[in-house]
Every structure is written in structure tokens, then in C-alpha cells.
């Protein structure tokens, strides 16, 4: 019993930091509708800045002053980010801003590395709260009890601010209709900046306050990201009490999970989220999200047309060049180009559901990595011939997508995105932990192509044919009745249903199809590398594809491919330098600001303005 209570208390104490960070994220999303990926970075900065301050401010009061000052400092950094990076892109299509915040993550990572170095720092213990208290005989740190006592006050203060003050009323009004708030004489730009300050400050305080329980390191930005998104989604996006309940739920379950089912730790929160979302599609205390109700749909897209002659010639010329790569380039170049082609196919498959279907998946790597694992397992466990494994991989990925799609497709918007991510994470942890079967962390190796395809050149041509063929096939599908129905389901569900389209079924089919194509890319991938590791299933892999689609242009057919190719080549070049993240991050931010329609979309607009590009689609 004593142990049980002690663990419960540990869970509650852990929930304090998690809640602070998540509530900031929830606030920012609630008002600005921005999915702020950089929130984990704010948390990390809070920890490092807090640590540095604690070195100079001694004693009990020094500690708490450091925590608050860290919050203020991070809040100001948030203000800089909001004004410089986000303001220019508020009008961009929904979710586009997440690409900008992704750039911010990279920039902050390198800035933190420059400032604090690559060593992990251990948090100081708090003077006056260093001891332990015995609860039913079990030791509980005093600091944990302080955190538990503090959190309800923070929750209350935030709740009061949002529901009772004029600022809070304006913020809630702006959440619903910012243009109208402006028409009533309120400068909503500063309201947004204020919310960003508060949200970032909360993340910073969260980072500083957990120092005595942990420390600070350069991985903590990504490490907390999944957890805070899970908390916000379980609680219901924009709901503070919801975030608190969810933070407590996750933290407490986690403490018990570690003790009783240690294998569960990697997935526990995702399982909880999946269960909650299947029962309550908008989280525990969330409210229904109506697409476009926040005036963020952007201008209507122009119709896709089959490529004109000019476009075909361009693509033909490009293909001809690609066909000559192995003859004239180095084998290094062949490998690089195949990598890019495979990644482009993967991104294009995500674009099919995201661009045409409006289904933002945060877990598309599940089908890419899933397909790769299917092929690898067929080869390594039953000794299937490469050709068979190669073809069965997309089938396996498709099956997975059929099942997961069936579970996810009921949800919409961010909730859909989060549930797809949860399942991808489930798959990842399954692969990661099932050592005997999947090799776990060590992956599966020696997965080579059949003899007639081995050798860089032969495999290069396979990649070229299958990769380009897959991309063209995806593009072709956009112009079939299936593609039209998919777009109709995205744009106007009601009207589509009135014309007899079963929208959910169409979306489900599209999800499965995109899964199959991602599986095909995975299949190409595994035989080109000869091995596969769980990293190919990670959230980061899913985000890679997501980012390039937005960079290339969501509303264009070639956006995914152009974005994918540009990013891969730029990355290949930049990673040779020390602070490549900083450069890449700044580059992404610049592209986002200068080209809010993505590279292709903005080039097209620019071309049209010059009058050269009439008649040519993207």
C-alpha cells in the first residue's frame, strides 16, 4: 500500500511539469491554431536557461526566481519566434505553419549546442526541499510534494485568466473568429503574440521546474514532444482542465507501467491516447473541430490539369538525365539519386492522402518502414526470394493501412493526425522490443536484392523505374474518378455524400492505397540498403515526408516530389558542416516566409505573374 501511494505521488509530481508544458501548447493551439512543433524546444531552453540562472542565484528563493526568469526569457524567445517567423505565415494554408516551427526546432538545437555544449547537465536540488518525507514508510522527495501542491494553483490561475478576465475573453473570442475581433477594434496581432509569450513561458517554466528531478540535455526537445501532444490531444485541444487530467493520467500510468509492465513504457501513452480517441474523438474535454471554421482554409485551389506538353517535355528531359546518371556519374551519385527517388515516392504517397484527401497523417512512416520490414522478414525468416518479398511488401503495408485506416478515419484534423501517429508509434515499439523476431534495435541485415538486380547500376534502374512509375501512377490516380471523389470528400463532405459518394469509404480506400505505395517505397529502400532498422518507423521519418510536402506545396501535384528532392539534396550537402541544423532551419524558415504556397505553388504564381507559365500545370 505504501509503495502504491508513493508511486502515485511520483506520478502526480511528474504530471506537474508535463502539464505546464502541455498547457502552453494547448493555449497556443487553441488561439492561433498553430501546431507548434517548437514547443519541445521552448521546454529545453527553459531547462538550460534555468540551469544557468541557478548557478548564479543561490538558495531557496534563487531557485524559484530562476524558474520564473527562465519562463520570462523563454516567453520572450517565443515572442521573437511569433513575430519573425509565424506572423508572416498566418494566412498560409492550415498546418503550413508547422513547417516553420519545424525550422525553429533545428535552429534552437544548434543554438543550444553552441551555448551549452553537448554535455548533459544534472539539475541542482532545491535548497530547503532536499529532504524526503515518509509516506506510510515509503520515501517521497519533499520537492515532489511541493510540485503536487503547486500545480492546482497554476491550473486555477490559468483557468481564471482565460475564463474571467477581459484578456481571456478576448483570447477566447479570437480563438473562434479573429477577423471579427479585429473588426471590433482589438489588435489581435498582439493578442496572438501575448498568447505565444504565455505559452512559451509555461513551457520554459516546465523545463526549469523539472531540473531537480532530472536535468537538461539536447535531446529533451524531441523527447517531450510526443508526450505533450498526447496530453493535449487526450485532454482535448484547447482545454486546460483536460490537459491537467491527461497529464496526471499519463504520468501516473507511466510510473505504474515502469514497475509492473516494463515493456509497456514506450507505448503506454499512445495506447491510452488511441483508446481515448476511439471512445471520445475530440479528447476528454475537447470540442468538435469544424474544418475551416477559423477562417484558415486559404484561397480555393485551382483545378489540377493533366500535364501539358511543356510539362511533359520537362519531365521527359529530367528522366533522360536520370537514366544517364550511372553511366556518367559516380556510384556515390547513383546511391544519392536512388535515395532521393525512394524518399520522393514515399512523400508522394503521403501527398495523395494529405493533398488530395485533406487527411494529415503524422504516422505515414508506419507503412514505409512497415513495408520494408515485411520484405526483410520474408527474406530473413522464411527465406522468400527477393522478387516475392519485394512485391509482398506493399501488400503487407496496404493491409496494415486498411486496419489502421479503419480505426482512424472516423476522426478529423489534428485528432486524426495524432491517432495515426499513435499507431505508427505502436508499430515502432513492437518492432523495437520484439528482439527475437525483428532484431529490435539491431535491425535486420543481409537483405540483398536477387543476383540479377545486385550491383549499384542494376538496382539504380530498378529504383528509377519503380520509383518514377509509382509517382506517375499516384499522379494518374489523381485524375481518375477515385481521385475526384477523394477531393470532393475533402472539400465538401455533404455535397459529396449527396451525389452518392461514400466519403469515409473513399478516404479509407485512399489511406490504404497510400499505405501500399509507401510500402513499395519501403521495399525499394530495404533492398537498396541491405538492412532495416526501427528508425525507419520513427515519428521523425513521418515528419520528414510531411515537411517536404508543405515545402514543395500541398496544393500542387508535384509539390511532394520537388520538395522531397530539394530537401534531400540540400541536406546531403549541408550535413557536411558543423552547424548544419542551424543553416537548414533558417533555410526552411526563409522558404516558408518567401514561398507560403510551397516551392512549386509559389514559383507557379510568380511565373503566372510574369506571364510565362500559362497552360502549364505545376
Amino acid at each position: 500500500m505504501g509503495l502504491f501511494i508513493a508511486q502515485l505521488l511520483t506520478g502526480l509530481a511528474n504530471a506537474a511539469g508535463l502539464f505546464l508544458v502541455a498547457s502552453g501548447l494547448s493555449l497556443i493551439f487553441g488561439v492561433t491554431r498553430i501546431v507548434n512543433f517548437a514547443h519541445g524546444s521552448f521546454y529545453m531552453l527553459g531547462a538550460f536557461i534555468g540551469y544557468s540562472l541557478m548557478q548564479v542565484l543561490p538558495g531557496f528563493f534563487g531557485f524559484w526566481a530562476s524558474v520564473l526568469l527562465a519562463g520570462v526569457a523563454v516567453g520572450l524567445i517565443g515572442v521573437i519566434v511569433e513575430i519573425c517567423v509565424l506572423r508572416p505565415v498566418y494566412k498560409a494554408p492550415e498546418l503550413f505553419q508547422l513547417v516553420a516551427t519545424f525550422g525553429v526546432i533545428l535552429v534552437i538545437q544548434d543554438l543550444a549546442l553552441m551555448t551549452w555544449g553537448a554535455v548533459d547537465v544534472l539539475g541542482p536540488r532545491v535548497p530547503g526541499l532536499k529532504g524526503i518525507v515518509r509516506v506510510l514508510g515509503e520515501p517521497v522527495p519533499q520537492y515532489d510534494l511541493a510540485l503536487i501542491a503547486l500545480t492546482p494553483f497554476v491550473l486555477f490561475a490559468l483557468w481564471y485568466l482565460i475564463s474571467k478576465t477581459r484578456i481571456g475573453i478576448l483570447v477566447r473570442a479570437a480563438t473562434q473568429d479573429r477577423e471579427m475581433v479585429g473588426a471590433l477594434g482589438v489588435n489581435q496581432a498582439w493578442l496572438f503574440t501575448g498568447v505565444f509569450f504565455l505559452g512559451a513561458a509555461l513551457a520554459g517554466i516546465g523545463g526549469a521546474i523539472q531540473l531537480p528531478k532530472g536535468g537538461a540535455d539536447l535531446l529533451m526537445d524531441f523527447n517531450i514532444l510526443a508526450a505533450i501532444f498526447v496530453v493535449v490531444v487526450i485532454g482535448g485541444m484547447g482545454s486546460l482542465p483536460g490537459a491537467y487530467i491527461a497529464a496526471v493520467l499519463i504520468s501516473v500510468l507511466n510510473v505504474f507501467g515502469v514497475t509492473y509492465i516494463p515493456q509497456s513504457t514506450l507505448v503506454l501513452m499512445f495506447v491510452v491516447m488511441a483508446v481515448v480517441l476511439m471512445v471520445k474523438p475530440y479528447g476528454l474535454l475537447g470540442r468538435e473541430e469544424v474544418a475551416g471554421e477559423h477562417g484558415q482554409v486559404g484561397e480555393p485551389e485551382r483545378p489540377f490539369k493533366p500535364a501539358g506538353t511543356q510539362g511533359r517535355l520537362l519531365v521527359g528531359g529530367l528522366l533522360a538525365i536520370l537514366a544517364f546518371v550511372p553511366l556518367f556519374g559516380s556510384s556515390f551519385l547513383s546511391v544519392l539519386v536512388s535515395d532521393v527517388l525512394i524518399f520522393c515516392l514515399f512523400a508522394a504517397s503521403l501527398h495523395f492522402i494529405l493533398g488530395l484527401g485533406g487527411l494529415v497523417s503524422f504516422g505515414h512512416a508506419a507503412y514505409f518502414g512497415g513495408g520494408a520490414y515485411v520484405a526483410a522478414l520474408l527474406v530473413s525468416t522464411v527465406g522468400a526470394p527477393m522478387e516475392v518479398a519485394f512485391l509482398l511488401a506493399p501488400v503487407g503495408a496496404c493491409l496494415g493501412a486498411v486496419i489502421i485506416g479503419w480505426l482512424c478515419i472516423r476522426l478529423t484534423g489534428v485528432y486524426f493526425a495524432m491517432l495515426t501517429m499513435a499507431f505508427a508509434q505502436l508499430l515502432w515499439s513492437l518492432v523495437f522490443q520484439w528482439d527475437e523476431f525483428t532484431g529490435g534495435d539491431d535491425g535486420l541485415v543481409d537483405i540483398w536484392p536477387a543476383p540479377w538486380l545486385s550491383g549499384t547500376t542494376a538496382y539504380y534502374y530498378l529504383t528509377l523505374v519503380v520509383g518514377v512509375g509509382g509517382i506517375i501512377f499516384l499522379r494518374h490516380m489523381a485524375h481518375t474518378p477515385f481521385g475526384y471523389a477523394l477531393r470532393a470528400s475533402r472539400d465538401s463532405k455533404r455535397q459529396a455524400e449527396a451525389t452518392g459518394i461514400h466519403t469515409k469509404r473513399i478516404q479509407w480506400a485512399a489511406f490504404a492505397f497510400a499505405g501500399a505505395m509507401a510500402g513499395l517505397a519501403g521495399s525499394l529502400f530495404v533492398f537498396s540498403k541491405g538492412s532495416i532498422f526501427p528508425t525507419e518507423l520513427e515519428i521523425a521519418r513521418s515528419f520528414d515526408a510531411l515537411i517536404v510536402i508543405f515545402l514543395g506545396g500541398v496544393k500542387t501535384l508535384s509539390g511532394a516530389v520537388v520538395g522531397g528532392a530539394s530537401l534531400e539534396f540540400v541536406k546531403d550537402f549541408l550535413t557536411r558542416f558543423e552547424y548544419w541544423r542551424l543553416t537548414l532551419g533558417l533555410l526552411i524558415i526563409v522558404v516558408v516566409i518567401l514561398a507560403p504556397d510551397g516551392i512549386v505553388g509559389s514559383l507557379r504564381k510568380f511565373g503566372e505573374r510574369l506571364g510565362v507559365l500559362r497552360g502549364v500545370e505545376n
Binding site: R166, I169, L170, R172, A173, T175, Q176, D177, E179, M180, V181, G182, A183, L184, G185, V186, N187, Q188, A189, R287, E299
Partner: protein, 233 residues
Amino acid sequence: MLECETINSFYGKAHILNDLSFSVGAGAVVSLLGRNGAGKTTTMKSIMQIVKPKTGRVRFLGQEIVGQPTHRVAKMGLGYVPEERRIFTDLTILENLEVGRQPARDGGVEWTNEMVFKIFPNLEERQNNLGKALSGGEQQMLTIARTLMGNPKLLLLDEPSEGIAPVIVEQMATTILKLKAEGVTVLISEQNLHFARIVADRAIIIEGGSMKFDGTFSELDEQPDIRDGYLSV
């Protein structure tokens, strides 16, 4: 008080307002008439700078407002009541009024909750209800009340009678006349000539984003071809 001079507004490439010019004098109630799609809403949005006119000038109390942010235009004393009402459905009536509240500007009236409740008694009864729990007519009252809380000198009312029961339309007419008596200038967009005639001193008719008529109602009655040509009576 308000002068629009050859404004041209666009949605993307679509040219909606075509060299539109008119003015509204202090204390007047002017009606902006025209069929569906004539450009009435666009005119109002172009005044509020929600739609930014590409060319042309809009002067309010002698100051140029084209290019100013919407919130600043509102702060100068322009109150906008949009056609779609756009009340904050997740906020209570009192909170909706709070969003609209602005400090009084030099010497003008300062509207309070009590004052708007006197005009719209229905709202007082439901002051703690959420916006989404209101009927269409109550929502219409709330949008007007909310805008009044900003102490506007000029009120832009976009089709206040649309989709409201005849009884309430009558109430609305009384309200507008009351506001006029309080010294508020009103520009009201309408399709309903009958309603416009009751509340307004002057009629401006637009079609395809261009001015077709500007004068009193008796002048309009002398030109039935214009009246019947540009309005669906």
C-alpha cells in the same frame, strides 16, 4: 463623415467594386440597396479594410483609412455589423458585449450593458447564456449590441433584416431610428426596399459594383425603371 472615392476592390482577380463613390453625412441614415451579389457586403468590408481596396480613397472624419489595419479603423469609430452575424457562440452574451467594449472617444456617449439591454430587453434575460443558445433574431440583436459597445460614430449594418421574422424586423426598424436619435450615423445595406424606406433618409443603389442611383426615396419613386431594374421588388 464618410467619403468613398472611386474605390476598386477585388477578390483575387475578380473585380468586384468598380469606381464606387458616395458619401454619408453625420447623423444620416443611408441605405445601400442592390440585388444579391451587387457588392453591398464588399462595400462594407472595403470600408472596414477587411477587404483592402486596390485603388481609391476612403475618408472617415477627414482621415484616410485605406491601408489601415481593421482594428484601427474600428477604433476610430466605425462599427461593423456583419451579414453573417458572427457572434462568438462559445461566449456568453455578457462576454460577447465585453469583446465589443471600447473606451468612449472624446466626448461621445459611452454605451454600457444597461443601455444596450434597454434597447434589446431580450438579451438582458439571457445575459449568461452562450451565444450558440440564441435564436437567429436574438443573435442579430447581439451583433448590433456588441458593436454598439464600441461607441461607434458610424454604424455599418449589413442586411440586419435578413432572415428575421416580420415582428422583429419592425423592432429592428424602431431600434435603428432610436440609434439615429442618439446621434449615431448609420449606413445600412438592404434588399428590402420597404424596410429601407422606413429607416433611411437616402437610397444608394449599386449593381455590379457600380453606383446606379443616389438620392431620396421620393426621387427614386419618380424613376420606376431604376427601382424595378436594379431591385427585385
